[in-house]
Symmetry: C2
Subunit: 209 residues, 2 copies
Amino acid sequence: MSDRRTRKRLATRQGISDAATRLFIERGFDHVTVDEIAAAADVGRMTVFNHFPRKEDMFFDRDEEGREMLREALRQRDPDVAPIETYRLLAHRLIAGRSPAVEFSARSQGFIETIAASETLKARARAIRDELTQVVAVALSECVGREPADPDAYLAAGLLLATWTVAFIQAHRTFRQTRDTEEARAAFLAIVDKGSIGLKAAMAGTPYA
Amino acid sequence: MSDRRTRKRLATRQGISDAATRLFIERGFDHVTVDEIAAAADVGRMTVFNHFPRKEDMFFDRDEEGREMLREALRQRDPDVAPIETYRLLAHRLIAGRSPAVEFSARSQGFIETIAASETLKARARAIRDELTQVVAVALSECVGREPADPDAYLAAGLLLATWTVAFIQAHRTFRQTRDTEEARAAFLAIVDKGSIGLKAAMAGTPYA
DNA sequence: ATCATTTTATGTACTCAGTACATTAATGGA
DNA sequence: TCCATTAATGTACTGAGTACATAAAATGAT
């Protein structure tokens, strides 16, 4: 088994990502050079680019998990529950389960502020949001047996991600002002629920609602 | 009057933007250098950066018009029509009026494909979408006399821009497949109308619906 | 018209992300 | 141990964007 190899490779990768993320949060994304990251992680500059084609990839290193979560939610859904309702329930489950994906804490605040301070990181966050929209659209259409390019699925996915995005941002705003995690969670769910009402109305008559 | 100065400045700016856009569409955004743009526009390289801080600014040179249109729609609205319905009517008006903002033609197809082929241009397109969302959220809250950070306004704006974005993309897909402008227009309005139903449901009980 | 002022165009020299390509070194299997 | 594979690294380059200085053009007042 060629295991030590992969373990070492992953360790190197993690070391770079950790060093980079720490530096980004400390000093801001745009005030950290790749050379400094390489030095901090004690690797060569090219090793950094070997593992992370773009500088911002070191910060958003776990974005595949989000995609997988959204796919998995529909894959394991209760057939009696409509896809859209499944996603609403997922939001509640993530909050109840203290999922890091919707965490409102001093730590997550640091991440958010780091992103907000950098055009590059904001751009990547938007790209990830678009990817998630695609994932949901495809998962939705597949889930009800429609073609992958079904316009209804795209509208549903767009509305869903818009809702979650606004919910996330507003919840973080709430947390910033109140420093109260529970209040932020409540704000998140309130907006998700409100958006779900709209989503269901828009999808009335389709298999998604 | 210091008019020739501004006229010359604007002419220089327009010349750069025109040359750049032509080259971008011809050869792809990433295969055109700023030096080539400067040469094509017959100006110095620094003049390019003087007018356009970012390369992609030369392509998206008229994005302020979109913001102004969305603000103006609410400013001049019929008080008997709800803000959300105002935006639905705006979409229909733009289509009926053959507005370049929602044009489906071989020319617009060229623009879209140029954007789709470049991560940088896609990133800027997403940023513009976010800016439009902000504009709508602020305009909406202002329009009904709520605070500018009203969560309902942000949700409404998010859902609205999500709807328009999906409508625009799907309509362009329709056009690409059918080459039929009218069919693309119909697809655009169908999705906008469907989204509006959801938007109204989500905003039920607020002054926005 | 001429000169001083302001604004616009431009040149020089730099930083830094990202790429192409070559090379070294570590690892695993035979 | 020797060979094949893969990871780490070095060198040299391209091209966007910045800082700062300068030239050139337009303006207004005299």
